[in-house]
Amino acid sequence: MIYLDNNATTRVAPEVFDAMRPYLTDVYGNPSSAHSLGRQMKAAVEHARELVAELIGAAELSEVVFTSCGSESDNWAIGGFLEQNPTRRHIITTRVEHEAVRNLCEHLAQIGCEVTWLEVDGSGELKLDDLRQALRRNTGIVSIMLANNETGVLFPIDKIGKIVREKSDAVFHVDGVQAVGKVPINLKELDVDLFALSGHKLHAPQGVGALYIRNGIKLPPFIIGGGQESGRRAGTSAVSNIVGLGAACKLARTFNEHERIETLRNKLEDEILSTIPNARLNGPPDRSKRLPNTTNISFEYVEGENILVHLDQAGVCVSTGSACHSTVKESSPTLRAMNVPYTAAQGSIRFSLGRYNTEAEIDYTLKVLPDIVGKLVEMSPYDRELQALKMARSSESSL
């Protein structure tokens, strides 16, 4: 299987599994226990905390709290802030956040919070002036992602943090789930108060995440119970998963093949766009504004789900933002926010590469994809539109 769906999840790295294995076999104990077995587990958790703090550039270890997933971290950050500051009910976020933030903010709007939704342009980028205008002195929290999960578009959280500080007393939360491990992050140098990450996006297992809480920011506990995580998040620590997250962060810090992945992504993107007439890029053509591993391409006038099924048959895993995926019957809110025409949003495919992808895999994908798209183009009732695209492309290339 060729796995080009690394923004959905990643395989557990063998190094990560090796680090976890003792904690699933011979080494056991409750990290809250005072005996030697417990202390050993506690030490493993604290070592993992150091590794996470190092990867994201947290100034203090106490700023890193383990959670069960990225969505929990996001929910805790925003929900916790509002619980702590019930009168500061103005929230600013974007139209293109992950569901963990977007659906939470929609819910909060329904129960009396005021939410300002920042729009994006056709490339999926924010206009920082919109943020400047939306901010008020008493804005409670600003929640903006670092990297978009569908398009890979990076938001300039350095500039955004400065604007937030300058214009308001708001707390700045960043959903960093899709970015950690793919781009360098140094929270010491950023005006970021809260930062969510998830283990399974960087080759740790599913079921573990973390929330960075800058020292001085008060959040009520997410789970009330025992004294785990300094009383901030009760529940027996998932030691093996936490160790896995730590090992994955260490692996990410030493990973030096980002350029190789970027080169493969560029090859995939360039060849698809130049050889398939109905292909169009969703996102800024300037690749420095995107994650190095992601390309989101629409195949106009055909159904993305059908491309996915055919690619799956051919042994290639991708994802689609189009209608009817799983149980949701609508096109991707991110692509809609970018004003991608409906007939293109329907045919969108996200290719997200990872550390284990090889050039041979990209070549194979490029070999099978044109025939798959061609077959669906032949089946499409939009024959005139497709013919027009084909002619436009061939006149472009003959120029």
């Binding site: 789900e305 149980t327 019957k329 032949e378 939009y382």
Partner: protein, 192 residues
């Protein structure tokens, strides 16, 4: 063929009846405002009102592709009236496709709607081309009194459904239903 949950996958991966029949043809379209799927079905119909050839083109999910593929298989060789009746019974198609997830339950109906639209184009054209001077009973499919009488007599038909199956009369809006009943009574009465 035993239809299982894999039917959709099989029909999707190797769809039958894809394309457009040669012109002149009768073309019907359907689209879903919910999911954005669109479908086009084109037909050839012979002088005895039977569908001799049909093809489809779709931009929609695998269930829609499978539905159109299967529906067309089932209507080739049938009269347009029979085909229209079949196309409007979404549950028949659904049964053949196997269990569908709830959010795909409308897809077979979308295939049916395009076929009914194509048959509608056919009946429009038959009506437009009608040059006969006989009394028309079924105005949807331009079936004359003489044709219905002949069919009832020659085939010894007893019910309106038999008449519809034989010559299409009554397959559209059904406003001629009672007229056909009267004719059945009259002809069969004479024969007694």
């Amino acid at each position: 063929m035993q239809h299982t949950a894999d039917t959709v996958a099989q029909l999707f991966l190797s769809p039958r009846n894809v394309g457009d029949v040669a012109e002149p043809s009768f073309v019907g379209r359907s689209a879903s405002f919910q999911c954005g799927a669109t479908l086009r079905i084109s037909l050839h119909v012979d002088e005895s009102q039977r569908i001799t050839e049909a093809k489809f083109k779709a931009a929609g999910c695998s269930v829609l592709v499978a539905s159109a593929s299967l529906l067309i298989d089932q209507v080739i060789g049938r009269t347009t009236g029979e085909a229209a009746a079949l196309a409007q019974q979404g549950e028949l198609l659904q049964k053949k496709l196997g269990a569908l997830p709830a959010e795909r339950s409308e897809c077979p109906a979308l295939a049916g709607a395009a076929l009914v639209a194509a048959i509608g184009k056919y009946s429009d054209s038959v009506r437009d081309d009608w040059e006969g001077d006989e009394a028309l009973i079924c105005t949807c499919f331009c079936v004359s009194e003489r044709t219905i009488e002949r069919e009832i007599q020659q085939r010894e038909l007893r019910t309106v459904a038999e008449v519809t199956a034989a010559c299409n009369a009554g397959a559209g809006c059904r406003s001629c239903y009672s007229l056909i009943e009267d004719m059945l009574e009259e002809v069969n009465g004479k024969w007694k």
